[in-house]
């Protein structure tokens, strides 16, 4: 009897340290900020007065928040979409390389291993406000490049390019593994039946790779909604808030301005939206896979 009680408790005992750490470092702070989000806690009112849903209502009418949410969507979908296309094409090409595939793959993986802050620095150097390499190279082609990080549209493009640079390898290596694991017999049977390369790609390879493609895209999509470091370094949200993603907006409201009550409400909305998107995508995914 005693042994069975012990063996039933044993797994929970093993889980306890992990659970305790997550409760203390994630769940408790979240509950703390839930209460903060119902107060007007700020630099002047350090105790904070209960204001009910006021912060949440303010958020819905806050044009700056709406703009940052919109840009976050544009950023996440554009950069993830581009990464998927580039990564898939690269993986298809790599799969056909016979000689030195290993070293080439390592080389292509490098950007993924670069610290996100450093990604910001790298691309800040590339798009340097006055003396940009990118423009120098464009000039050689006879194109006069814009001052990238000082115009809203080109600055947005620049932060997307940086994200695409870093995360395309993620798609490349996962899809490469998937392509190399495709059942040979099926692909060969397709060829014997006279399928062109394009047909066997569209009708055989892509359907078989679909679960992997969807999961990889989902992971990147959720992560890119949370992007902060590289944009913080490259543009700090500027010019005129054109590259201010939600994370950056919340951060700015919370720390430099110390509007903790409002920032907490914003971060709750952010968490809720992210969870809903993830849940919807996961449901869609498990239906297809």
């Amino acid at each position: 009897m005693r042994a069975s009680l012990w063996s039933r408790l044993f797994p929970y005992l093993l889980l306890m340290p992990a659970m305790a750490i997550l409760l203390a470092m994630v769940v408790y702070p979240l509950l703390f900020s839930l209460t903060t989000s119902f107060t007007d806690y700020n630099l002047i009112m350090l105790d904070g007065v209960w204001v009910g849903f006021k912060n949440y209502l303010t958020a819905f009418g806050d044009p700056a928040f709406r703009d940052s949410a919109l840009f976050t969507f544009i950023f996440a979908f554009t950069s993830t979409g581009t990464q998927l296309v580039l990564g898939f094409v690269t993986a298809l090409c790599l799969a056909r390389v016979v000689y030195a595939r290993g070293p080439l793959t390592i080389l292509l993986m490098f950007p993924m291993m670069v610290t996100p802050v450093v990604v910001g620095i790298l691309w800040l150097l590339m798009f340097q406000p006055d003396y940009s390499v990118v423009n120098g190279l464009l000039a050689k082609l006879g194109i006069a490049g814009p001052i990238w990080l000082q115009h809203p549209l080109t600055a947005r493009l620049a932060v997307i390019v940086a994200d695409v640079w870093q995360w395309t390898p993620f798609f490349t290596i996962i899809l490469l593994a998937g392509i190399l694991n495709l059942p040979k017999e099926v692909m060969e049977a397709g060829e014997i039946d006279g399928a062109t390369p394009l047909q066997s790609l569209a009708r055989l390879a892509i359907p078989m790779l679909m679960p992997l493609i969807l999961i990889t895209t989902l992971i990147r999509l959720i992560d890119s909604f949370k992007t902060f470091d590289s944009i913080f370094v490259m543009t700090n949200g500027g010019p005129s808030a054109s590259t201010e993603v939600v994370s950056l907006y919340i951060y700015r409201k919370g720390l430099p301005y110390m509007e903790m009550g409002y920032a907490s409400a914003l971060s709750y909305l952010f968490v809720i939206v992210l969870t809903v998107i993830a849940a919807l995508l996961i449901r869609q995914l498990s239906r297809k896979a």
């Binding site: 750490i21 979240l30 298809l92 993986m109 996100p116 450093v118 470091d229 939600v246 951060y251």
Partner: protein, 283 residues
């Protein structure tokens, strides 16, 4: 597409297309890295030249300044301490939890797994504000312990997930046989299963190390001059900082920060691919 995952040999034209795409992608991946290396060796007038300069008289002045006259090495040491402690704690705690989830059918198992993976979706910015308030009220700002605790918490979910996958890939029967022979469950796990999943554990540890060294948001908000890790220290060299444009120094700092991760990645490529794909499949 000229390159389908088929086994048919390529036409010459297709071969050129495949080669061309790979050359372009390699240039795209490699050029910014090459550029930062060049920038770190350039004298200032070459850095600020209107034309991109590839040939110049190299100088080590930026390297000297970062390594010898700034506090960069101290910040580097901070990062190493934080990362080493985080990896050690995460590996122990996550392996225990992963073992429980992989080997014991629990009624709450599904909920626990969901709870663990939901932590992965949490935007760090949602937690950083309350943690800042809590840490400042109990006097834990600018302490290495605080940053270690946070990195541990943020790395536990993915680590449990990865290690659990590795454990489930091994057979339970051999462990049970060892228990029959008188070993304890954890003893059997340690002596029978751990040696089998060793490469997986290594790649998990590598991931935790990289994520910890890379972590920027908490590092810059919760640390001051004392416990500042390198990821946050880089900001000191940025043109937006008070010290003006120090691109050469920023380039040196960038290289020093990303070097260990890139070297590890190159050495452990195979394990890393396994880890990333597993994270994707299970994620």
């Amino acid at each position: 597409m000229s390159a389908s995952p088929s086994t048919r040999p390529l036409h010459p034209g297709q071969r050129v297309a495949v080669g061309g795409i790979l050359v372009l992608m390699t240039l795209f991946a490699g050029f910014p890295l090459l550029w930062v290396l060049l920038t770190s060796l350039k004298p200032n007038n070459a850095i600020l030249s209107k034309d991109p300069i590839f040939l110049f008289q190299p100088t080590l002045e930026h390297w000297e300044r970062v390594l010898f006259t700034s506090d960069f090495l101290k910040f580097y040491l901070n990062s190493l301490i934080i990362a080493a402690a985080t990896v050690a704690i995460v590996m122990v705690v996550a392996t225990l939890a992963a073992y429980a989830l992989a080997r014991y059918p629990m009624r709450a198992s599904k909920d626990i797994s969901f709870f663990i993976i939901s932590q992965r979706m949490m935007p760090p910015v949602a937690v950083v504000l309350p943690i800042f308030l809590i840490a400042s009220s109990i006097g834990m700002l600018d302490r290495l312990e605080t940053l270690i605790a946070i990195n541990v918490a943020f790395n536990i979910p993915l680590s449990i997930w990865m290690i659990r996958g590795f454990i489930e890939g091994t057979s339970r029967e051999i462990e049970e046989a060892a228990v029959m022979d008188g070993a304890s469950w954890l003893g059997a796990f340690w002596r029978v299963t751990v040696p089998q999943i060793w490469p997986g554990l290594l790649s998990t540890a590598l991931f935790v190390y990289i994520y910890t060294v890379n972590e920027f948001l908490f590092a810059s908000i919760l640390s001051g001059t004392n416990a500042r890790p390198v990821s946050a220290a880089v900001a000191l060299f940025l043109p937006t900082g008070v010290r003006g444009t120090l691109f050469g120094e920023a380039a040196v700092a960038a290289i020093l920060i990303m070097l260990p991760g890139i070297i590890f990645a190159a050495l452990m490529q195979r394990h890393l691919v396994a880890g990333v794909s597993l994270g994707a499949v299970k994620g």
